[in-house]
Symmetry: C2
Subunit: 275 residues, 2 copies
Amino acid sequence: MTYCVAIKLNAGLVFLSDSRTNAGLDQISTFRKMIVYEKPDDRFMVLLSAGNLSISQSVREILQVEKLKDNDDEDGLTIWNAKSMFDAARVLGSAIRHVYERDAASLKLAGVDFNVSLIFGGQIKGEGMRLFQVYSAGNFIEATPETPYFQVGESKYGKPVLDRVITPHTPLDEAAKCALVSMDSTLKSNLSVGLPLDLVVYEADRFQTDKVVCIDENNPYFQMLHNSWGAKLREVFDSIEDPMWNGEATDVPLMQTAGRSLPLKKITTPQEKLI
Amino acid sequence: MTYCVAIKLNAGLVFLSDSRTNAGLDQISTFRKMIVYEKPDDRFMVLLSAGNLSISQSVREILQVEKLKDNDDEDGLTIWNAKSMFDAARVLGSAIRHVYERDAASLKLAGVDFNVSLIFGGQIKGEGMRLFQVYSAGNFIEATPETPYFQVGESKYGKPVLDRVITPHTPLDEAAKCALVSMDSTLKSNLSVGLPLDLVVYEADRFQTDKVVCIDENNPYFQMLHNSWGAKLREVFDSIEDPMWNGEATDVPLMQTAGRSLPLKKITTPQEKLI
């Protein structure tokens, strides 16, 4: 599997991906899942990919030369001449459909789903930043203030901390930290996600960034975050009182039934006596 | 969906389940997923269920009267006369297979998988506590000191905290707290898991428990835990330094590339120039 997350904030964009790919337990490899497309002072775009590696690599390859022709008298839309990220996402959708036309029938005969899941975000001069999640059919959805982040791959382990922290007003470096904590939880619980990580932090209206980093096991910040988060989470856990039960002397709220709820179904003899 | 977790410790067993069932977004209901089977001074068993509700309800119904006959001259093994939890789990497997024989063909015609996932644990006099995860085919696996907990249903959101805290030496009430934190993270991130919760804490060699509680939104302990965990997690998050970048003056470890990793793939022009 894979875990990728991208966050759209008022201040900018954060992209983070792992690099583990597995096709069966004996075939675990490192493949980078992030590509940056940058044209200084004009456009800055990042693509994150999850799903079948042969499909996502083909999509990435084709995307660089993909031309989307809506009608005959146009030169064709590319990610390099698109006037909006929406149009660039349409070009990406078109690239996926080309790979589908080429490979899907053969994959189906081999019993393999046409499965690819992409996050594509950035900024093109003349409009604000935008962030899209793009599906196997080439269709896509856009992030909004209410839903400012997208995840692809093994997304569940790392979702709670994003839900607790991220809003459009979160500062950029704090959101980067949150993405790394989300990744750390995923690494902890899922073997199919692994280092190194690729992290890109983009500030609004810059059309370039120097905050691009590949994080491996020797990265001092990630080591610090990994150790601090684990240790402090444990401290917080220990600082919350254990449940106390009816009859125990305590100031802690008792663990007792309250409200309208019915008691649990309990069977005390083979004769189905219910309480 | 559903989220159920059970933990086997040296000190006892912890069982926790939510109560939300959904068959489509417009059909969300409350169904309890925990049953306690108790024969004082002889056996104490708990069953947690996830998956297709019609299947799990049928299994629960049949389990109370299921007789497993290994050969003809026996009266038949039941959960009430089994000498070991292993045998009781075999009876449960047999109950699942009876429901399969009855329903699977019709379900298949309707395009519905025969999907049920159960956790079954407890203690029968004469042996130690045991905990099993039982699959749709009636086969099962047992928890060990290395893997002291099982989850069924929406298990991923709540897995990281279990991985960080639970060992066989964890005290019983601390493990109950951990299960509740795990459930709280799941409730936060997944709408298909909902209150009320059923919690049972069993102390080794007691063959009964009075630590049985149904937790709804008015439960003071769960309210305290929910609020404290959310607030303190945020404090911990804030206490970890944001990443600092090369060139910024700081004592915090810099966010910089280290070790053997190659730089990210970056495409700066349409001509595929790679750096």
